[in-house]
């Protein structure tokens, strides 16, 4: 029997999980740009969130000081990462939790699947978590016969529609209310057929759908926003209360965290609990933040497992500049302000980490196998406008990292590209005035190509590299040098 015959999604075959798509960014973006519904949905959602974020960030007089504090706290964390993780492990273990270490996505999934099997449960409730999206945990659980119920509204929409997430915070940002209603009517068992597309009614439908699951669940699975090394305290920042349900009601809680989520001290949350909500949902504070430390007798799960995940993070840590990408607190502000993300959406990036931060994080996590690696195209998914740096609550210099990774890609490539040939041709033409004059004469050909529309839309290789993505204006009838010669000689 194969997984396909069982109607199950296949388990990610890459041991890294979902950090790499199947096609390059330009190819995927081309298709996304043609989807006018997608562009309308994204444009509406990102405009809304940008305005909300700007308003609540404007209320905070010491925002820049908070950003600098966040930046320095994260840099300090990276400089002491192994020691902080050992401290976290000691604290969690001392408070009755069990800590597991996973080299890659596959190993993390195996640990979680075994733990769930050990409880005898055949279903789990899940709080939205990027770490388990990264590892492809749901597919691994399904392959092991365990049903995983996503409980975050947007994640539920993605799961019900057999789709992929396209945003950190709102994985279904690419869907509008009418599409969500359609998905619920089609996929949600026992849904009220008179459901409208009013957001409040849609939220109520999700509540009714998941209520019994929460009240009877035996195993909950979560990610982490911040893990405090000093005290062993973990925290989940959320809105709907689905997080509280998963963290509180089951007997067993399994939490998967990327190793970079650790912070040194409890006090550090005074910074991050100000930066994160205002940057992500544009709220002064999100509705619910839960913190817990190991196991608390009489309150919440009495069995607690923490899985610490590397999955390429140690590669990123080794780069003095590149490690900034590990400072990310997954607020998604850089996605919301990015002119490229706003138009292509998250799926075009392939990796489950989209947008500007994804473009610098994913290639570092996976490493680049060569010029044909699809993740090699990600550092080019930017106009380098710099909006992402300005929005980043921990001041990650994403534009700098993008340029650095482009430079590394150029230095590493071995066979000449179309761009190289074009540049070599330009160098020949520009070496002497005589050659340059000849080249100018050839511009007349460009005017013929442009025709009456005044734009060149398609050139043969190697110039097609340019015209695939942009039109070229027709060359002027007279160049500056020709004009000078005519009027001054």
């Amino acid at each position: 029997m194969t997984a396909v015959e069982l109607g199950m999604p296949t388990v990610a075959s890459d041991p890294h999980g979902h950090l790499r798509g199947t096609e390059s960014f330009p190819r995927a973006a081309h298709r996304a740009l043609a989807d006018t519904q997608l562009r309308r949905n994204l444009g509406h959602a990102t405009r809304t969130i940008r305005a909300k974020r700007a308003a609540v960030v404007g209320e905070v007089d010491d925002w820049e000081e908070l950003r600098r504090a966040g930046e320095s706290l994260k840099a300090d964390t990276m400089a002491r990462l192994p020691e902080l993780l050992v401290q976290l492990e000691e604290q969690v273990t001392g408070r009755g939790g069990t800590v597991h270490w996973a080299r890659d996505a596959e190993e993390a999934n195996r640990i979680v699947v075994d733990l769930v099997r050990g409880t005898g449960a055949d279903e789990v409730v899940k709080v939205k978590s990027m770490a388990t999206q990264e590892t492809g945990l749901n597919e691994a659980l399904e392959a092991a016969g365990v049903a995983a119920f996503e409980t975050d509204l947007a994640e539920l929409i993605v799961q019900l529609s057999h789709d992929r997430p396209s945003h950190f915070l709102v994985p279904a940002i690419h869907r509008n209310r009418a599409e969500i209603r359609e998905i619920f009517l089609r996929e949600m068992p026992g849904v009220d057929p008179s459901l409208t597309d009013e957001p409040r009614r849609l939220a109520m439908a999700a509540r009714a759908h998941l209520r019994r699951k929460f009240l009877t669940a035996r195993v909950g699975i979560s990610g982490v926003n911040f893990a405090v090394a000093e005290t062993g305290t973990l925290s989940v920042v959320e809105s709907e209360g689905n997080g509280r349900m998963c963290l509180t009601l089951p007997d067993t809680l399994i939490t998967v965290m990327g190793v970079e989520k650790v912070v040194p001290t409890w006090r550090d949350l005074e910074v991050f609990l100000q930066l994160l909500p205002r940057s992500s949902t544009g709220e002064r504070m999100n509705p619910y933040t839960s913190t817990w430390t190991g196991v608390t007798p009489g309150d919440g799960p009495q069995t607690f497992h923490l899985v610490l995940l590397d999955n390429g993070r140690s590669n990123v840590l080794a780069s003095p500049d590149g490690r900034q990408a590990l400072h990310c607190i997954r607020c998604s502000a850089c996605l919301n302000v990015c002119p490229v993300y706003e138009r292509t959406g998250g799926h075009a990036y392939g990796s489950i980490y989209p947008g500007p931060i994804g473009a610098v994080l994913s290639p570092q996590l996976t490493g680049i196998s060569g010029p044909d690696d699809v993740n090699a195209s990600l550092p080019y998914a930017s106009s380098l406008c710099g909006a992402c740096f300005d929005a980043c609550p921990v001041r990650i210099d994403i534009p700098h990292l993008l340029v650095q990774q482009r430079a590394a890609a150029v230095a590493a490539h071995t066979r000449p590209t179309g761009q190289d040939l074009t540049m070599q041709a330009a160098a020949i033409a520009m070496t002497t005035p005589g050659r340059f004059k000849l080249a100018e004469k050839a511009l007349g050909l460009g005017r013929v190509l442009a025709g009456r529309k005044g734009r060149i839309t398609g050139l043969p290789w190697p110039m097609s590299g340019w015209t695939n993505a942009r039109d070229l204006p027709a060359p002027p009838a007279e160049t500056f040098r020709q004009w000078w010669e005519r009027t001054h000689s």
Partner: protein, 212 residues
């Protein structure tokens, strides 16, 4: 090498390779005290505004003696409520419905059957419209009792109201579970607009005790 040793070894090597030449200095130049004094009339006023902005309903009372009147008023038609074992008894004076004390702990289905929960709070943050429930505090109780019932009534005293997040963090002990609550349960997952009422309590009433 087991996974723990291997991951730690990789991280140590990578950390040393990527570390900056000069040690990192952590800066905390932001405000650690709030603009408004803890417990002042002004900070209560700001808390009232921010709670209301995120759709909690605020009921102001001037003294401890008036708490019961306000609590019983907002409970209205509620036939049964759950309370943590250490809730001051006189907060419910005059309530005619059934009071279930969570000690010994009620089953989840019992919590699901009550109409409301009444608790105190450990600290409240005026800048953000937040109150924090500490599981270890006897008037707040374990986390499930403020999660499963659909209506939460929370009593906040002036002495526990601070202006800023850093002031609140400094007052809290993370060794037992904490829940930061800012308004009733809500979602921004549909077109990034906030709508109230998902899995947590859909109705949130705050009784704010102090100078107004």
């Amino acid at each position: 090498m087991n996974a723990r040793e291997e991951v730690l070894a990789r991280l140590r090597t990578a950390r040393d390779a990527g570390n900056p030449a000069t040690p990192v200095v952590v800066t905390r130049d932001f405000a650690t005290t709030g603009r408004l004094d803890p417990g002042s009339a002004a900070v209560l006023e700001r808390l009232d505004e921010t709670l209301t902005d995120y759709k909690a309903t605020v009921h102001r009372v001037a003294s401890e003696a008036e708490i019961a009147g306000a609590v019983v008023g907002v409970l209205g038609e509620a036939r049964s409520i759950v309370v943590p074992a250490g809730l001051p008894g006189d907060w419910l004076r005059g309530y005619a419905g059934q009071v279930r004390t969570d000690g010994p702990p009620l089953a989840v289905d019992e919590l699901d059957a009550v109409d409301a929960v009444v608790t105190g709070a450990a600290v409240a943050i005026a800048d953000t419209g937040t109150f924090v429930l500490a599981s270890a505090a006897s008037d707040q109780g374990r986390r499930a009792i403020t999660l499963v019932p659909d209506h939460h009534v929370c009593v906040i005293r002036a002495a526990d109201v601070v202006c800023s997040v850093p002031e609140a963090i400094a007052r809290l002990d993370p060794s037992s579970p904490l829940t930061f609550v800012s308004g009733p349960s809500a979602t921004s997952d549909i077109e990034l607009d906030r709508v109230e009422g998902v899995h947590g309590p859909r109705r949130l009433d705050v009784v704010l005790v102090g100078p107004g």
